[in-house]
């Protein structure tokens, strides 16, 4: 059963979550982007804000229409909350007998309620779970954040210029991984329940059932988001693309893209599925010890392939090839899925506007442009 949450009830929702002990994190405009930060009041939401995204380009625009979620993803969403950019793992200290004592450092803060997670990011979260919570190789800190997360998804009613989740089958409507999923319609949201935690919250808020008109409008909005997408991943991001890549490791396009690529790692930092990290050891001035932390790394750094005194991937060509033959290729062998969820972030936030769908089109010989499209607001 679907419910209706009026715009006026957003603050009640935030209050209810706070009463349950959560810190609410939600989208808001900061420094010209939409970021997730502590959300205390509905007025902080990006009302009427739209984004213009092109390769290497991101701008916000204000419109008269008062919608809270008529924008596509900004640089980050779920990833930095669960797989932190830098997280301390343990402390080691010498005791009075000179023996080394290791002490685990676990997160210690309020659980987080995330408002506004998109479908692509939930798909990415499921993929990160596969890597960081796999069998006995569990990242304890990630697990803690994951278990303390309440997810309120928002189904997209608008796609950005670099979105291509339709072709990767990861959106624009969230199918799992949420406690509640909202779709913005006139005057509020249609609410779908994804868990018992979510149901309890909706009961507390005394939400009324959604009308037929509400749900029809929600479907139209989701369909509108899908129809706005102009980009696609060749071969629909399938295993076939994997095979093509693995059979074209010497394709000249790898060399051409490496001439443009800065090997800066922005793409991997914003990618919601990238999980590579390195570990650092920082000696502390007080006492005799150090703190061990894990920190986002990237296949575009030299440290990533430094083995036995040698940097194995010493050129940008090798690094760029590693990024995509893993993400779109051997990721299938490891995790039985592609590592791309079509969020388009790596395209927008690449400082020189490299578009992976275009690179894949060149290698796979299939277009990355969706044909027969109605014009979207970001097309002109």
């Amino acid at each position: 059963m679907l419910y209706f949450l009026a715009y006026e009830q957003i603050n009640d929702l935030l209050n209810a979550l706070r009463t349950l002990g959560y810190t609410c994190m939600g989208p808001q405009v900061q420094d010209g982007t939409i970021v997730f930060d502590e959300l205390n009041h509905a007025a902080q939401l990006p009302w009427g804000v739209h984004d213009m995204q092109k390769p290497g380009y991101y701008r916000l625009q204000q419109s008269e229409k008062k919608e809270a979620f008529a924008w596509a993803n900004g640089p980050q969403a779920i990833k930095p909350l669960l797989f932190k950019p830098k997280e301390s793992l343990w402390r080691v200290q010498k005791n009075d007998d000179g023996k080394l004592i290791f002490k685990e450092i676990m997160p210690d803060h309020k659980p987080v309620a995330l408002i506004g997670a998109r479908s692509c990011d939930l798909a990415a979260m499921a993929i990160q779970d596969k890597t960081l919570l796999k069998d006995k190789f569990i990242d304890k800190q990630y697990q803690w954040h994951r278990e303390h997360l309440f997810v309120i998804a928002v189904n997209c009613s608008y796609s950005g210029g670099n979105c291509f989740c339709v072709s990767t089958q990861t959106g624009p409507k969230a199918t799992s991984g949420y406690d509640l999923a909202l779709t913005e319609v006139d005057k509020g949201f249609v609410v779908d329940i994804g868990s018992d935690k979510g149901r309890n919250l909706i009961t507390t808020l005394k939400c009324i059932p959604a009308t037929e008109t509400n749900s029809r409008q929600a479907d139209t909005r989701t369909a509108q988001a899908a129809s706005m997408q102009t980009k696609r991943m060749p071969k629909n991001n399938s295993r076939e693309l994997r095979n093509i890549l693995m059979n074209h490791l010497d394709h000249p396009r790898w060399h051409e893209v490496a001439e443009r690529c800065l090997s800066c790692g922005n793409c991997t930092a914003v990618c919601p599925t990238c999980f590579c990290h390195h570990q650092t050891e920082t000696p502390v001035a007080q006492g005799d010890g150090s703190v061990h932390a894990r920190e986002w790394d990237s296949c575009f750094t030299q440290g990533h392939s430094y083995i036995h005194g040698q940097v194995v991937r010493d050129t940008t060509e090798k690094r760029y090839k590693q990024w995509l033959t893993h993400k779109l290729g051997t990721w299938w062998d490891q995790f039985d899925t592609s590592g791309c969820v079509g969020c388009g972030r790596c395209v927008t936030w690449c400082p020189v506007g490299i578009d992976l769908t275009e690179e894949m089109a060149a290698i796979a010989g299939e277009s990355n442009v969706v044909t027969d499209k109605k014009k979207g607001p970001h097309d002109d």
Partner: protein, 263 residues
Amino acid sequence: MESRKPRIAIHKFTSCDGCQLAFLHLGEDLLELSEKVDIVHFVEMGPINPLAKVDVAYIEGSISTPDEKERIQHIRANSRYVITIGACATSGGIQALRNFANTKEWMKAIYATPDTIATLETSTAISAHIKVDFEIYGCPVNSQQILASLLSLLHQTTPTASRDKVCLECKRLGYACVMVTKGEPCMGPVTQTGCGALCPSLGRGCYACYGPAENTNTTSFAKWLSSLGLSDEEIARRFLFIQNNAPAFKEEGIKLKGKNKHD
């Protein structure tokens, strides 16, 4: 032999004194440190003993006079480890811009009696003169890098430094990219990290004070800056700035300047 605290010296060559301040900025940590080491030469703080034999010598500044050329040799001979700090010491500093000019003519134009001034034609990095054990980049360097280098040595481990691009740190810290959101030229994608993405944190572009990162693609980056509307001259100036004598920047800067002349 009686065990003693490791001895530290901080020497100055051609520079602005700003990097040494990174020690003083350590505050409480400096007090902790002074329990563990003897600072035997550090003019800015008080102790003066330039010829002392030490375990670690930190060097600020570039070599730009005949006297400095000699002095650095003595320091090397007197020190177990030599660590250079800052743009001047690691690449020659802003004053290396003189390397592009005719020193004699400049001297004549500026000073009444240029013959009384002993200076070299160039300003160069310390590593161009002696073996350097570890380099800390930046203009100025930050205190945490200094502290980490010394603590590592005290723990008998090799100090480490990342030569990754500023961008990675910028993203880890969650700053809005000024290039992508504002079209503001930012040198982050070719500059090495260490500053904590200070400039982007304040909404402005990085000006490359930490010098080139590893594996830079200055040519592609220069092309992108030109598509943002910068002239070749403006781009060249961004490379030929504080780190003008660092090979990757020098090469690209000269290339762009040459291009400009032919246009």
